[in-house]
């Protein structure tokens, strides 16, 4: 079966039947391999695990955990996992820790379908190449063992889920802005919201929100925001620590529910946000707008890594799982949470036209749309902020990145948090 025949089909049933047929059961009669997947709650979802087990005939264990926890686990003990699912900013760590092994693109069924965002860092010709660790920069394993953008047959991770982040604001307090025109990261430092601003508690993410805000306000410039020098880090933290001491920030949020609670209790009116948090607030009737900053988004790319300790049968199962992820259904599933998949065309048949139009095309919802929990998450006529997939990923300011000054930023971060 080739791609053309696959795409002739439409509708979920047909696609599902094809998908099932596409994966010859690996386990057969003799043995049923078990793979351990370590990652976060963003992708380690029970419906996905069940569906994959059913489709692949293997046992899959999900070990979801906090960002720091899973990264520590994966970076110190390759036997703790077969596959590791997290963000592109963990690749440098893992690669350096040598706990993961390269993935051979020839064994990836849908490698050719993966779009240019992951491979070149740009979704289209007119797209900006975001600062920091754009996925292409850390994707290909070079002959000297470094990771870089020159295409090779070995890659450090499987590109799959990705999205852009920005800040959310309560439009009943903060005046509504125009996407890409007036909405700005600088709003985070607006004195009017002093005391009601929160930042995600993650130095490799939150630092960019702060840096974008500081730059938008014209308070400082960066030689390369994606890889700040110690001096730049010092300057940035001097500014934000001073602001924090003046009481500008309510604090850091440590989880998505925490961010929801902060805004729901009106302790915060504007803050770094992840898209599920925005959906949750809207579900509670709080008019939280997910901004489309004119300076561009802070983007992240999901990575699926293969443990150095994953070999033989388990390696085969791991590859099967990776291929399954790009086979359409999972992409459609996570699209309903607002995430994109690297080969969206294959997921399109698993979505209704209205879903596709809303999530990928940036068009108004032609009908109320269900979330992954089966409840209506998008009302009729609603439009996704920031527009289409293309529009959003053409406007990337920076990618979540572990910079060379990572350890240094950690200590500064502590100073900032406790200021």
């Amino acid at each position: 079966m080739n791609r053309r025949t696959f795409l002739q089909h439409s509708g979920k049933i047909g696609a599902a039947a094809l998908a099932a047929a596409a994966f010859p059961k690996l386990g057969k009669a003799q043995s049923r391999p078990t793979i351990k997947v370590v990652g976060t709650h963003v992708t380690l979802l029970e419906p996905i695990r069940q569906k994959a087990e059913q489709d692949l005939g293997i046992n899959i264990e999900f070990h979801p955990g906090g960002d720091a926890e899973v990264l520590l686990k994966a970076s110190t003990d390759p036997t703790a996992f077969d596959l590791y699912e997290q963000w592109s900013n963990s690749i440098k760590v893992l690669w350096q820790a040598k706990t993961i092994q390269p993935i051979n693109t020839r064994r990836l069924t849908y490698w050719e379908e993966i779009n240019s965002l992951s491979k070149t860092g740009r979704i289209s010709d007119k797209a900006k190449h975001g600062l920091g660790d754009a996925p292409d920069k850390i994707l290909f394993v070079q002959s000297d063992g470094r990771l870089d953008g020159s295409e090779t047959e070995e890659i450090s991770f499987l590109p799959y889920v990705h999205n852009v982040d920005s800040f959310g604001y309560n439009s009943s307090v903060v005046p509504k802005g125009i996407p890409y025109e007036t909405e700005s990261w600088g709003w985070l430092l607006d004195e009017r919201w002093a005391g009601k601003v929160a930042i995600v508690n993650s130095p490799e993410i939150g630092i960019f929100d702060l840096a974008l805000a500081v730059r938008a306000k014209g308070l400082m410039q960066f030689k390369d925001m994606g890889n700040m020098s110690r001096e730049e880090v010092d300057q940035l933290f001097d500014i934000i620590i001073a602001l924090k001491r003046k009481g500008h920030f309510r604090g850091m949020w440590t989880s998505v529910p925490h961010s929801v609670e902060l805004m729901a209790t009106s302790e915060v009116v504007i803050q770094s946000m992840f898209s599920p948090g925005v959906s949750a607030l809207n579900g509670m009737g709080i008019p939280c707008i997910y901004a489309a900053p004119k300076e561009g988004y802070r983007a992240w790319h999901g990575v699926m890594c293969l443990s150095r300790a994953c070999v033989d049968e388990r390696q085969e199962a791991a590859y099967a799982f990776m291929n399954w992820w790009l086979s359409g259904w999972p992409g459609a599933f996570i699209a309903r949470q607002g995430y994109y998949i690297s080969n969206p065309q294959r997921s399109k048949p698993f979505m209704s036209q209205a879903e596709w139009d809303y999530w990928y095309e940036g068009k108004p919802a032609a009908e109320p749309l269900m979330g992954t929990d089966g409840k209506i998450s998008v009302q009729l006529g609603e439009v996704r902020t920031g527009g289409s997939y293309l529009r959003r990923f053409e406007n990337i300011a920076v990618w979540n990145t572990v910079m060379d000054t990572y350890e240094y930023t950690l200590t500064k971060w502590n100073e900032f948090v406790l200021a």
Binding site: A68, L71, L72, S75, T76, D77, V93, Q96, A97, K98, N201, S202, P203, R250, G251, M252, T254, D404, T405, Y406, E407, Y408, L410, T411, W413, N414, V417, L418
Partner: protein
């Protein structure tokens, strides 16, 4: 005033006075009660303030402790002092105790905040435990495994080098490296990776090159260790790259020794060395992340919630303080107002009580003044209660009664004086009259005698006799009148039917002579009276009728009849004579009053009858009889009524 009237009507004098005291006492008690209430409330408010102040103090200590804990945690991490780690645990315990004792703050809505602070603190400590674990793991890696691998690698390199030196072709070319050559190489060590080993080929190395590489490997090994320790000391990631580059360099140089057993073992050791190093690096990063990001955020949230709690308590304390001031002020006003009101009430009440005492006294004084001046119509103020004032009012009433009696008896006395005067006047006139007559006629007789008209004079003598006879008759009648009420006045029950039947019999002759009919109706009452006097009344009435009644057509008649009413027996004696004109009906009962002087009689009969009737507490009056004639109407009090 209505209240005074009410008091006067319903509450006795002593009770009124007692009531005054009781009400005053109650009012005082109420004032005391109000004060007590106000002070109790104030005390409660004050307790609240103290309570919150204590919690606020605890809370400030809480924030300090949190900061101190994070400081100790950082000391533990960066300095490696395990005592600082223990200190974190101790502070954590203290803070948890403090939080658990703050559970009662739930009532100011702080429960959720306390709970959040607790959760963040727990998360903080949990992260710290993980930090400790990672720190220990890292420590073990760095202090133990790391050293083992490094030492082993050094040994292997040295052995490899010694093997080269032991080859027969190059004996003594190089002195064997001393055991501690590791250190002695440092100054000579070339920069790591600089002028790195040439691409390795199995047999393409000279002995000298191998010896040189061996020395350089030792130098690289030293660089690895040095950079690794620099990293663990400074957390500068470039040292990791430097360390891994040196490792890479060592590996490359090792290729010179390919094929040797020791070389294979060294390669493995280097592999393990690298893994250990990288794991230690990741564990370092892990705990750095935990302490700088996770713990700091939890610490900040804990402090934030604690500050929030402080603010809430401060606000609550402020609110209570304001409430207290408001209360003090309002209680003051209330107390003042109510006290003033109650005092006013007492004043009013006292006025009412005193008025309820003085008012009747004043009225009574006024009444007594009037009574003492002899008034019989002084108004007795109404006073219904049986208390002292009631007694006084009773006295006034009896005083008045006495005055009324006195006045009545005075009037009675005046009346009887008048009566006596009238009697004397009448008697003197009527007694003089026969004397005038007889003296006058005696004068005539003398004149006639002087003129010798003896016979004529003798004729006149009869007139004198008659006058004197009349005189004695008058005197007898007067005596009779004076006897009434003085002699034979014992009373008994007299049956009029029997009495008058006897009377009729005794008068039968006289009536027959005068052709006069006396009719006595039956069912006459029995009277409690003096029998002979009552009989005299009827005799006098009959005599009167016999003198005055002249009825040719019907025949003369007197009819005695009776009827009773509630109080009186009425006895009617009706004749069919000429009747008595209305103007003489009272006069006929006067002494010596005669309607017709030419009819025989002294005019004393009806006067006697009147006096007898008065004596019996009854009366007699003259009335007109329908169809002509007079009616003498006698009334006697009914025996029953009289006795009761």
């Amino acid at each position: 005033m209505a209240v005074t009237d009410f008091l006067l009507r319903t509450v006795g004098l002593k009770k009124r006075i007692a009531l005054g005291y009781i009400v005053t006492g109650l009012v005082a008690f109420m004032i005391a009660l109000l004060s007590y209430g106000a002070f109790t409330r104030l005390a409660e408010d004050f307790r609240q303030i103290v309570h919150f102040s204590r919690h606020s103090a605890d809370n400030m200590a809480f924030a300090r402790q949190m900061t101190e804990m994070q400081r100790q945690a950082l000391i533990y991490i960066y300095e490696g002092h395990s005592s600082a780690g223990t200190q974190v645990g101790t502070i954590y315990k203290q803070m948890m105790d403090s939080i658990l004792s703050s559970q009662d703050l739930d009532r100011i809505g702080a429960g959720a905040v306390v709970e959040l602070a607790r959760r963040h603190l727990e998360a903080y400590y949990e992260a710290f435990r993980e930090v400790q674990r990672q720190r220990q793991l890292q420590d073990r890696l760095v202090r133990s495994e790391f050293r083992v691998h490094a030492t082993r690698a050094q040994q292997l390199i040295e052995e490899l080098t010694r093997q080269e030196a032991a080859q027969p072709e190059t004996p003594g070319l190089r002195p064997p490296l001393p055991e501690n050559s590791f250190l002695s190489f440092i100054p000579a060590a070339a920069p790591a990776g600089q002028g790195g080993a040439r691409p390795a080929s199995e047999q393409g190395y000279t002995e000298a090159e191998r010896m040189l590489n061996g020395a350089k490997m030792l130098a690289s090994l030293l660089q690895i260790e040095k950079n690794a320790y620099r990293y663990f000391d400074s957390y500068e990631s470039s040292f990791i790259q430097a360390a891994t580059a040196s490792l890479e360099d060592t590996r490359e140089r090792l290729q010179t020794f390919d094929g040797q057993d020791k070389a294979a073992e060294l390669k493995e050791v280097l592999e393990r060395y690298e893994i250990t190093f990288l794991e230690a690096v990741q564990r370092t990063r892990g705990y750095l992340y935990l302490i700088n990001v996770v713990m700091s955020a939890q610490a900040y949230e804990t402090i934030y919630q604690s500050n929030k709690l402080s603010a809430m308590m401060l606000h609550e304390t402020g609110r209570i303080q304001q409430e207290v001031f408001a209360h003090i002020s309002s209680r003051q006003q209330l107390l003042l107002f109510s006290t003033a009101l109650l005092l006013l009430f007492i004043a009013l009440f006292s006025y009412l009580i005193s008025r309820s005492i003085t008012l009747p006294l004043r009225r009574l004084t006024e009444t007594f003044k009037l009574l003492s001046s002899g008034s019989a119509d002084a108004e007795i103020p109404p006073y219904l209660l049986q208390d002292e004032l009631g007694d006084l009012t009773g006295s006034a009433a009896s005083f008045k009664g006495k005055n009324i009696e006195l006045l009545a008896s005075k009037k009675e006395l005046e009346r009887s004086n008048d009566e006596l005067e009238q009697f004397v006047y009448t008697v003197s006139h009527d007694l003089k009259s026969p004397i005038v007559t007889s003296m006058g006629f005696i004068g005539i007789i003398r004149k006639l005698a002087a003129q010798g008209k003896a016979e004529q004079a003798m004729g006149m003598l009869e007139k004198v006799v008659k006058a004197n006879e009349r005189m004695s008759q008058l005197i007898n009648d007067l005596l009779e009148l004076s006897r009434v009420g003085r002699i034979d006045m014992d009373k008994k029950l007299v049956d009029l039917n029997a009495l008058l039947a006897d009377f009729a019999r005794s008068q039968a002759e006289r009536l027959k002579a005068a052709t006069f009919t006396l009719i006595i109706q039956p069912n006459l009452p029995s009277l409690f009276a003096n029998e002979s006097r009552i009989l005299q009344v009827f005799e006098n009435i009959l005599s009167n009728a016999l003198k005055y009644v002249r009825n040719e057509t019907e025949g003369c008649r007197l009819e005695i009849n009776s009827y009773d009413d509630a109080q009186l027996h009425h006895i009617l004696c009706a004749d069919n004579g000429p009747g008595i004109a209305a103007e003489y009906r009272d006069k006929v009962f006067g002494l010596f009053y005669r309607l017709n002087v030419n009819i025989e009689g002294t005019g004393i009969g009806l006067a006697v009858a009147k006096k007898i009737m008065k004596f019996h507490s009854g009366d007699i009056s003259a009335e007109a009889r329908p169809g002509g004639g007079a009616v003498f109407h006698l009334t006697f009090p009914r025996a029953e009524a009289g006795q009761s």
